[in-house]
Point group: D2
Chain length 337, copies 4
């Protein structure tokens, strides 16, 4: 951490701060220039609050040198983490594909789609039971009943279940019934929920917030990991930009960035990013080409009649065809699917 | 709502959609142009899911004409709402000023600051007991003990308490002890929390999300109101932009915009927007000049020793001086403080 | 175009506007609902100024139904445009790869790199002679001398030249010497320059502005095309987002979006988007996978000694290896390279 | 400037870089920590290209300590600059108000409005002769004839002329006829135009780019100043954010930020930021309250018939009334108007 002093900072101010930091176990390397004078603070600065330093008399600004995340940081964990979700391994050579409808509607619907996506090569299934909707007047999900339908579909196909949690009240039930618990973009900084999930040992799929930086996303992972649960899989699902033609802008550069900064696996959700089914296919290909560890794709057998987000769902036959292309691209970039 | 058809949409597709919408009670006004053919959908479209229509065969795009919020909408409630918080009225001629430390630290600290800000003219006090921090390694607040300190400070000064809630588990306790329950920017779309608060009758201070549009913010208010609690006060606290010199960018234009779209009162938090105490004063003046119904200002008696966000806290004497200037500006724009 | 009236708009106001628009040759389809009353304006509205209508007494808001661009619009030109640059065809089955250094430094440097990239399969070469730099104190390019070096390199390799223009003063010289004239991101809305280039018949490579929407980008293309020059190739080079780890965020979804909205070819510059050489490779693969018509890649034989942007330059051997992978991905998505 | 090394950087790599920088006259202060090792580079680093250092073998990242602008920097010029525009002084105690129509339409129109705004207290007049429009099919301005009309209006009222330049071809004519030459937001990084204007001694009104940071804006000022022309007045006119209700988001915090970083005067254009006349008034008040050195306000005597941007123009009587309120606020914040 670098502390830059104001031009008129006094020797007393600097000495006071130096003593304070040294008493906390940090080493100080001072450097005086013509226009700027600064301290290099050496030690584990991740718990040092940058805002507390900015207010110190004489300090102009404070800059971090190291990332503020520790358990998620590749520096302290150079090998890729492999997260096991009911036997499916995220982060290794093989890519995992999670597919299914935006929301669970009926037992028939979810079981049928689960069979279709399994036949096409998907290795896990998704389906929303609790739905975070912008409007309180939109369909909010089948809730507990939706979980039951998912369990039956799992029994019928063997595909592990991925579904979103919205409230700490539901943690116990999800731990019991769900294989990979999704935290949605709008809850990425719902810190109380993250902490509760950190106390379980279930794999967590942590979606990136709509306007979150990569650092904030990794700090959200750190919230879960700091409570003891290191089974975190990241999910890029598009960020908000000025572009309104697409629902969100898929940030493919986040994939190589995250893989350099962290050891955690990262998958891509092209469906929410695009918001339009015809764009899901090229984005899915781009995601595999750029090095994602897996995909999360919405598939519906009757998109026009879907209760939610039909516009961005692929039909099972298009999904099957897409899987073929993805397999080819995966091979070229040294992966399997 | 306007539905624009594709150039190659068939008569059958249009007829099918027309019948479907009419069966739901909407009227359809069709209009055919050279390059575009469209439907005007007449009726209460707030519960109509725009994404369900986008996926219909033949549809090119769907555009809303009316805002999707109803209870928060000034169209259906032309007069300003006045929200009563323990006798302090938000939304009328008189501005309300909420002041206090970022976080509650000790009983002495919070009581002393409460006395100082009351003497300077503040009408409510604030102080964080539960703190949403980007890092799990930063101070997370005194929690329940912090609430006790706030209650004692209220007993000593008579100032109503404003403090942030982070979890649905705490709703009962907050309803008991707090006068104005704050929902922070990171929880603006924590829909489960909003619904729980909607079932109470406590006034809610709803902060705007870091990258939220005004429409999303009002839809978050709608979540609370749709459950029956119409006591919502909005709080602009800066939005994320590319500018890194300030912590966030205070969006003063949101004030006249919200007041035109909605009947709810809106206050401004210049402290979080600025992130630097010397910028709080000009921003507070701008907020009053632009027409805000109140302010939320961080004041600390010893910012250098603050446990959190001292950099953006005013000392009591600066706050008192600022209040004088704000009073003058309020008078010029036809308000009182 | 849809004109939405205020609730209290009078019959006189509506009749006056109706007559006004009809006298300009538009047809008006009126539609009256409970909460909103509106006009559908039928005809070629691309020249109708939306802001002039917004100010009319009684009007609440105005919404476009059709895109404001015409010559760039696929609706009026359903087939893909193929742009010929000295025999290299952009927009057909075969992808074009433009490679070379960020800035032209010496004759030896540019000729040697041109030979290297040609050997690896590049079909055009790039090199900056006029450099738009954020700081006036940074190297501004070799200017005219740089153009001479590029011409000599072309003579030595046969590769057509792509280089950036910054001033209308240079149009004549560029038309004489350059094969594909690049307009940089910062000049995307330098309308006077666009108009001058529209009066030539040279192919133009139009980079997307740092914070431009797809519609603004296509409107910039329209500026060139409306003057008569329809030889426009678009170039996605990353947009500004909150993410600071990468220089810019490559918007891969812009590729399928542009190809749906417009008939113009679109290429991708992964080097400027990433700002770091190790990220150029995965982004280039993603660009081909998503359907780009070509790539613009920075290659330098001695990045550490480069005068500009060495950090994002590939060395020739890495570039050659990358070309192999790109070829494989191109085949999978039905293209050639 | 701080150079952070990779964990595996070798002594040779560090020594090589140290020698290289010392040979350019910089002093190096090295600091070695457990997880990071770094160099503090002491000297005038404003001409040091950060991207050239990032590519050096062993370097992880490079961080600036000092701002990259020099002539615009308050550190080297602690007093406020006062810029004289035909006798009107920008940057002193008195605020300057520039008012007039968006575009010059007829001699009668511009002269009449000039008289109106003068009567209301405006001290300079504005009017667009060359108009940068998003669409090539929109009205592009009266061009030279517009300049003639402005000159006649100046002769009739004595108000100095402020108008926008779009092309380097027009510099000579503008220097001859215009009192304050405006560079529009879209040309903020049209570096060739900035350099040409830097060779004159005319005052320049430099608008902030739509998505520009404060640092980029000051670097654009630096482009003009580095050529010798230090008569630069900055103009905040709203930045692009996700909010679509307003045309742009007026960044009032940029005013205190710029005044702390730079000695240059800064004025505010609330009309372009708002895009709606009823919002211009509260934003203008906020601008004065926050400390702006002046305002740029669109006034039209017949907004409904305006050729451009009528929606955001005030009528002369509203403008006159607004001026009264602004005077009151100016007095409270220690200024005059």
């Amino acid at each position: 951490m670098i502390i830059v002093f104001k031009q008129n900072a006094t020797v007393e101010e600097k000495t006071k701060l130096k003593n304070q930091l040294e008493s906390k176990g940090f080493q100080i390397h001072a450097s005086d220039g013509v226009n700027a004078s600064l301290f290099g603070v050496v030690g584990d600065t991740s718990a040092l609050d940058i805002n507390l330093l900015r207010v110190v008399e004489g300090v102009e600004k404070v800059m971090r040198v190291q990332e503020p995340f520790k358990r998620a940081n590749r520096m302290f964990h150079p090998e890729d983490s492999i997260i096991d979700v009911a036997g499916r391994k995220f982060g290794g050579k093989k890519l995992q594909v999670i597919a299914g409808p935006c929301s669970v509607e009926t037992q028939e619907q979810v079981t049928e789609i689960a069979k279709d996506v399994k036949a096409a090569g998907a290795t896990l299934m998704r389906g929303g039971a609790f739905k975070p909707r912008t409007s309180p007047y939109s369909f909010q999900g089948l809730k507990e009943k939706g979980l039951d339908f998912l369990k039956n579909a799992r029994a019928a196909t063997g595909l592990p279940i991925v579904t979103e949690i919205m409230s700490p009240y539901m943690v116990e039930r999800f731990v019991e019934d769900v294989d990979l618990i999704q935290v949605g973009a709008r809850n990425m900084q719902n810190f109380d929920l993250l902490k509760e999930l950190g106390k379980t040992n279930k794999p967590i799929l942590l979606k990136r917030g709509l306007a979150a930086t990569i650092e904030e996303w990794l700090m959200a992972a750190e919230y879960i990991m700091s409570e003891g649960n290191e089974n975190v899989i990241l999910c890029e699902r598009g960020i908000r930009t000025f572009e309104t033609y697409t629902r969100n802008t898929l940030d493919v550069s986040a994939i190589p960035a995250v893989k350099r900064l962290s050891h955690l696996p990262v998958v891509v959700d092209p469906s929410h990013a695009a918001g339009m089914w015809w764009m899901v296919e090229p984005l899915a290909k781009a995601a595999v080409a750029v090095g994602a560890d897996g995909l999360l794709i919405e598939v519906h057998n009757d998109p026009e009649a879907a209760w939610c987000d039909g516009a961005q769902s692929l039909k099972p036959d298009r999904f099957a065809k897409l899987m073929g292309d993805l397999r080819g691209i995966a091979n070229i970039v040294g992966r399997e699917l």
